[in-house]
């Protein structure tokens, strides 16, 4: 197959000398025997290099956690008290509140407000009882969502005072942001505590805002073939959906451009920090990266002549911090899924010669499984049709067709 030959061609060009294998690369150990714990980042090494991750230096991690912990708990208590107060107001003076937020004083509306009051008070009491647990704060977030939905309905009703409703919605949004922030911090602190006790998977407990993702796939090719293809970073955009281009600067350095949510792009320079042909490639972004990140890919022979097990670790500081990650998740841009999808496509390229496409999968987002009216821009001239660039004759002929 032509594509496969082309592939081999590009990968041969980049045979680079063995580079620096850092003793500090903790995952040179096989995946199975590796501690899936958190101890790992505390060993330091290139992966845990704090300058790539905003926030607290790692050394201060433990003592620092205690401090932010109590700070977050203070915030939680504040939110709990706020909830109790607002809830009480909703319960005993729903009429006054309805006027304040611009909603008509009808029985239905007042009953809804009273019910919301009960909910607020329940969350508030829960938080005050367990200010270290994120669950009750999350219940506030859920409540906020309900409030916003109700306000949206009120806004659409011509019986409401729309200016007042908008002001109320703005206030709720502000509180929602605080609730989310508080809940996520509490969640992270709980993870951190689990991490210290060694039970939490490292992947779930990145330090100071970083996100760690790990995925593995088995590719029916030798470790040498798989390594060679990956080692030429220019190949990566073929199967990494969010990567636009990688330019190789020299043996160690490269420049990466990726698309980010909402159509923007992010760029960074990266350097290879470990390179063991047929076994491992590790890289990290350099100072000034839009999204500080580091990654490693390991290649190990699969048992039973099944090719190569490819394990990718990616650690990065998402734009917008953990709130950014949460929002990205809401919009289906979850990084873990991205890496999994990228690996699926990597396997397709290695085994079949190209990324496998369906009528629906060539579109971003959902699309009916029917042929496209026109090929998306990025596929034009790249689909492998013999007729590329000219009209296919059969469809317009007398036989069949439209």
């Amino acid at each position: 197959m032509a594509t496969r030959e082309e592939m081999g061609g590009t990968s041969r060009e980049v045979e680079m000398p063995v580079e620096i294998v850092s003793e500090e690369v903790w995952w040179l150990e096989p995946v199975s025997s590796m501690p899936r714990v958190a101890g790992a980042p505390e060993r330091g090494g290139w992966l845990g290099e704090e300058r790539h991750f905003g926030g607290m230096p790692r050394g201060a991690d433990r003592s620092g956690r205690q401090e932010t912990g109590s700070g977050t708990e203070r915030l939680a208590r504040g939110l709990g008290l706020f909830g109790l107060g607002l809830g009480l107001a909703e319960l005993v003076a729903p009429g006054a509140l309805a006027r304040l937020i611009g909603v008509r004083e009808r029985d239905e509306n007042l009953n809804v407000l009273r019910a919301f009051g009960l909910r607020e008070m329940a969350s508030g009491a829960g938080i005050l009882a367990r200010p270290d647990s994120s669950a009750w704060v999350w219940s506030r977030v859920a409540g906020d969502a309900i409030d916003l939905a109700a306000l949206t309905r009120a806004y659409r009703s011509d019986k409401s005072d729309q200016r007042r409703v908008l002001a109320a919605a703005a206030a709720v949004l502000g509180v929602t942001a605080l609730d989310v922030l508080c809940a996520m911090r509490l969640g992270r602190e709980a993870d951190g505590a689990g991490m210290a006790s060694g039970r939490r998977a490292f992947a779930e407990a990145p330090a100071a805002g970083g996100t760690h993702v790990r995925h593995a796939i088995t590719v029916n090719r030798t470790p040498e073939e798989v390594y060679a293809f990956w080692r030429d970073f220019r190949n990566l955009p073929q199967f990494m959906r969010h990567l636009e281009a990688v330019t190789v600067v020299d043996e160690r350095r490269s420049h990466w451009v990726a698309t980010a949510p909402a159509g923007s792009t992010v760029e960074w320079d990266a350097e290879i920090v470990a390179d063991d042909p047929g076994r491992l490639i590790a890289w990290r972004s350099l100072e000034g990266a839009d999204v500080p990140n580091q990654g490693a890919v390991r290649f190990t022979p699969a048992p039973g002549d099944r090719g190569t097990e490819v394990t990718v670790d990616l650690r990065y500081d998402p734009p917008g911090g953990f709130l950014g990650t949460a929002i990205a998740k809401l919009f289906g841009e979850e990084p873990g899924e991205q890496v999994k999808g990228d690996l699926d496509r990597f396997k397709q390229v290695m085994e079949t010669g190209e990324v496998v496409r369906s009528d629906a999968s060539i579109h971003r987002g959902m699309h009916a499984a029917q042929p496209p009216e026109e090929l998306p821009e990025r596929l034009r001239g790249r689909t492998g049709s013999r007729n590329e660039g000219r009209e296919a004759g059969w469809a317009t002929g007398a036989e069949g067709g439209v």
Partner: protein, 390 residues
């Protein structure tokens, strides 16, 4: 082109949609001459398969003439007449190398959705939900066939469409159902469901040496075809008699050596269990109604095999695991690895040992697809199998 599109529960329409295009270098475009409605299409029609979208082109049993090939397809030429297998398979991954084509590791671009529901993803399938790839199907004038260098099988012009069309799915599916029973001389095989797949399972069980085949269904006309065309020795109408008692009688108390479930997730049954499963399914407490499967397990002889080729989608309730474990039953199942069976089965047809067209009861035009779905669903006019010609 014209294509049969899904528009929601109990709604299909023949719409104008764009002509298919080559999307990968190993694709071919086929002008479809004959296509069929499969019993499993009724699961889509009835709304039991998740991840369907309005406008999805249906159909996974089709054949026709190659009109365009991608530049990496060396084995097919424009003008070749081909039958296309329903699972899409790359031929390169470990599963394909092991001839487990319906488990192809590369042909489902939406593998992540299937992984959420099933743990791991099987192969992509034409016209069968986004979870299984989001591929446009073959109840249309044209179809794009990925991995055309692996799947489609060329057929001589001498053999009519109706003789070879079912190599795409139901003949190999029934055959694999019988093959999984590891049939030995003297074996008695019971088949739940005398639909087209069940008929082929019965005929295949006979081809593979089963001494007696017993058909179980509720429609007399289907049981009659089983007796007259598929080689069934005895038939049981479960609306009229107890399946368990009758099977015991017919097998000297042992139970059948192998039981084939050719029914799947929308089984019908007697009042009580049927009402129970129907209600649970309606309340989303289980996705599938495993009435035939439970019965097959309970009926099977000690140490026997239960072969499941009826389609299941999700979760079932009251699965008699105690019966399976304590009585050393073997359960075998899978979407058919069609590519593995097409060549040998084409030989059977060529040698005149079987003529698969015996299941066809209705012939129509592509434009008639909506009426044909309705007719097939309600088993009107003694409908067993609908073929649509272009």
């Amino acid at each position: 082109m014209k294509a049969t599109c899904w528009h929601g529960k109990n709604r299909v329409q023949v719409d104008q949609v764009p002509d298919p295009k080559i999307l990968n270098s190993r694709d071919a475009i086929v002008r479809i001459t004959s296509t069929a409605i499969c019993g499993s299409d009724l699961h889509l029609y009835d709304g039991f398969v998740p991840t369907m979208e309005k406008g999805d082109v249906l159909g996974h049993e089709f054949m026709g003439e190659v009109v365009e090939v991608g530049r990496a397809v060396k084995n097919l030429r424009v003008g070749d007449r081909v039958v296309v297998p329903f699972p899409i398979a790359c031929g390169d991954c470990s599963a394909c190398r092991a001839e487990a084509y319906s488990l192809c590791e590369n042909s489902n671009p939406n593998a992540w959705i299937a992984e959420k529901l099933w743990g791991h993803s099987p192969a992509g399938i034409f016209g069968y939900s986004h979870m299984l790839g989001g591929y446009a199907g073959g109840q249309a004038q044209y179809a794009r066939v990925p991995f055309a260098d692996v799947g489609p099988i060329k057929v001589d012009n001498g053999m009519p469409d109706e003789q070879v069309l079912f190599l795409s799915d139901i003949f190999p599916t029934g055959y694999m159902g019988a093959e999984m029973c590891n049939i030995q001389p003297g074996d008695v095989v019971a088949v739940w469901g005398a639909g087209p797949v069940g008929q082929f399972a019965m005929a295949s069980a006979r081809l593979l040496g089963a001494e007696r085949v017993i058909a179980i269904d509720r429609f007399p006309y289907r049981l009659q075809i089983a007796r007259e065309k598929a080689g069934a020795w005895e038939t049981i109408n479960y609306m009229e008699e107890s399946v368990q008692e009758r099977l015991r009688e017919l097998t000297g108390g042992r139970g059948p050596d192998a039981c084939i479930d050719a029914v799947g997730m929308e089984a019908h049954g007697h009042a009580a269990t049927y009402a129970y499963d129907r209600a649970k399914q309606a309340m989303m407490l289980e996705t599938d109604r495993p009435i035939a499967l439970r019965e097959a397990i309970m009926a099977c002889r000690n140490g026997g095999t239960v072969s499941v080729i009826g389609v299941y989608g999700g979760f079932i309730d009251k699965f008699p695991m105690g019966s399976v474990m304590n009585r050393s039953l073997t359960i075998r199942t899978g979407q058919c690895h069609v590519q593995r069976y097409m060549r040998p089965l084409l030989e059977h047809i060529r040698r005149g040992e079987i003529d698969p067209s015996f299941v066809i009861t209705h012939r129509a035009r592509l434009d008639d697809a909506p009426e044909m779905y309705e007719l097939f669903k309600h088993k009107q006019d003694d409908c067993l199998k609908v073929v649509l010609h272009n």
